[in-house]
Symmetry: C2
Subunit: 353 residues, 2 copies
């Protein structure tokens, strides 16, 4: 069962391979008659040109490599969907690599494999944790293709698309202040994560600007998991019993917090107002429904691919696109956990599907 090739089509249509190639690539310089005849043969045969051969001949693969980590969380999955959707609509194929841990040792083989496939660009969707970014930066100069980084600290020499985590922390905290709370605690994510540090800084600065001195033990640190949220909350309660409200750096930890609050008879929001971060699908169904910050991670993925393709196109025209930082503004999603209205049970909903 030999594969149908451009040669077969050429023979069947009585033209040269060259002409078939022109038809395939929709070049205008083909006689209408010829074009129609060739198309007919192509369709009847079910011929599909080989992208591999095309890549080799064109010296351009129309493929993008994506390296992603943290797929066990909702955020990265959303980002991946954004990346995949945008790549598809721009005509790029995605080569996918999952980084099972944030261990940088494992990165080199993934990178090598992607480059061996001659991708036209790379999307680096690995969170900036500890110094894992430095390793890659060291590699960058030798990388033959442009790379776009997701959600890391902006730098003048890198192309970065990120969510403004600092602004997110400010949004959450300002919202709590607006509700009249003054004693606002914080449960941070692991502080070796850039995102966790940004959110915490947003909390701290907003309090400071409101003239509220941040008590020394007013915050604690978790590891993003719900269990760690429970534990951090328990510690925080001891150190900061006067706390009226708390900004939790992600929704999962907020869930852990809510569980403990429930068990201890702490009513949310009456005794304690809570704001999370991420807007995972469950957040709307926590008890009470959780006020949170939507990171717009799908949009993040889309923007990343758009920018990467822009850079690739610029390169092809020998126009060295200057690296730039694109920042997405997060959005506050207000629900019951930060205000005094009790949710209703089995009430007629307002038209949800």
């Amino acid at each position: 069962v030999a594969k149908t090739t451009i040669r077969d089509i050429a023979a069947a249509a009585g033209v040269s391979r060259q002409t078939v190639s022109r038809v395939l690539n929709e070049r205008p310089d083909v006689a209408r008659q010829t074009r129609e005849r060739v198309w007919k043969v192509i369709e009847e045969s079910g011929y599909r040109p080989s992208d591999i051969a095309r890549s080799l001949a064109r010296r351009r693969s129309l493929a993008l490599g994506v390296v992603i980590a943290g797929l066990e969380y909702v955020g990265p999955s959303r980002t991946l969907r954004g990346i995949a959707g945008q790549a598809e609509s721009l005509g790029y194929t995605l080569l996918f690599k999952d980084l099972p841990s944030l261990d940088t040792n494992r990165v080199q083989p993934l990178l090598d494999s992607l480059l061996a496939w001659e991708v036209d660009g790379l999307v680096w969707a690995v969170p900036e944790v500890g110094s894992n970014r430095q390793w890659l930066q060291g590699q960058l100069p030798r990388l033959p293709v442009p790379v776009i980084f997701l959600t890391m600290e902006a730098r003048h020499d890198l192309s970065v698309v990120s969510v403004d985590n600092y602004a997110g922390g400010r949004l959450a905290t300002a919202h709590l202040l607006e509700q009249g709370y003054r004693k606002v605690g914080h449960i941070a994510g692991p502080l070796n994560w850039w995102e966790a540090r940004q959110r915490k800084a947003g909390w701290q600065d907003t309090l400071a600007e409101a003239g509220i001195s941040v008590v020394d033990g007013a915050w604690d640190e978790g590891d993003w998991s719900a269990a760690s949220g429970s534990q951090a909350f328990c510690r925080l309660l001891e150190r900061y019993p006067a706390m009226e409200a708390v900004f939790v750096a992600n929704d999962q930890m907020a869930l852990g917090l809510l569980q403990v609050a429930y068990q201890k008879g702490i009513r949310v929001p009456r005794d304690l107002a809570v704001v999370g971060f991420d807007d995972i699908p469950e957040a709307a169904h926590y008890w009470p429904p959780l006020t949170t910050v939507d990171q717009r991670q799908e949009a993040l993925g889309e923007m990343a691919v758009q920018e990467l393709v822009r850079i690739i196109e610029a390169h092809r025209q020998n126009d060295a696109a200057k690296p730039r930082a694109i920042v997405l503004e997060p959005r506050l999603v207000i629900r019951e956990s930060s205000r005094a209205l009790p949710p209703e049970a089995c009430g007629e909903s307002s038209g949800g599907g």
Copy 2:
């Protein structure tokens, strides 16, 4: 900046391209001296052979295509990680396509693109909903590569790897019966999903075998979302007020149920025992922690790639591997929602990190 090719290496090492190719592919028939000289040049130059050129020449890409849907849920993300990990360790590169909706119209272009890249095989990780499988089956005979299907009804003529959803439904229900409950209700997933039907059948048959007649209104249907779980539970409460326990077809709907239960003052598990399905990370942190069924979706992805590669290898040796169905057994994870022990708040945990 011309790319380094095998030609450059050959020239620098004073051998033919052929010999460099032999070294690269670790063939034994190269003199030790020659091999070492060539390796040295390769390493110094940072040369990386082009997988695209190799694919073309070998008529074999060592690439697998994966089409996935439902990445907004935890399950498919886990499956994807399993697929990616296994592909990586077997030396295959993954071309990734996300199916944004279950609309079959959009499938053809994804499939065409994957085939144009000449993948050696396809992983079809799209849930079987309505008749969306039939369309693909019609395509199958013309597909030039083997396809493995995830989590759909087994068929003698297809290679399928799936979780035994029926057994999962039985596990959940039998567990509730063992706890002494007799009036066990069910909140099903959308019944145009094969998985939802299987789980429901497991519930129904287990009750029947225990000699318990299933009350007519003993079940309701949701759409997998937490909101739909809330609504289905509200309806079910009216129709089946005597219900002592309920098996919910996924954890998200169980979450919606728990929220309503809380608002209505229904204590779980004292007034109502609950079992979910999936074991999403949050399940352990619901209030109360949710008993559920672990689908082992990461293992599912791994098995799928293993089987697919097995078939590919068999094909290469002209050994037409017969399609077979591989079934993974789910596991019951028992937590507080189905038994009478109250969880403790801020207690010393048993050594969790």
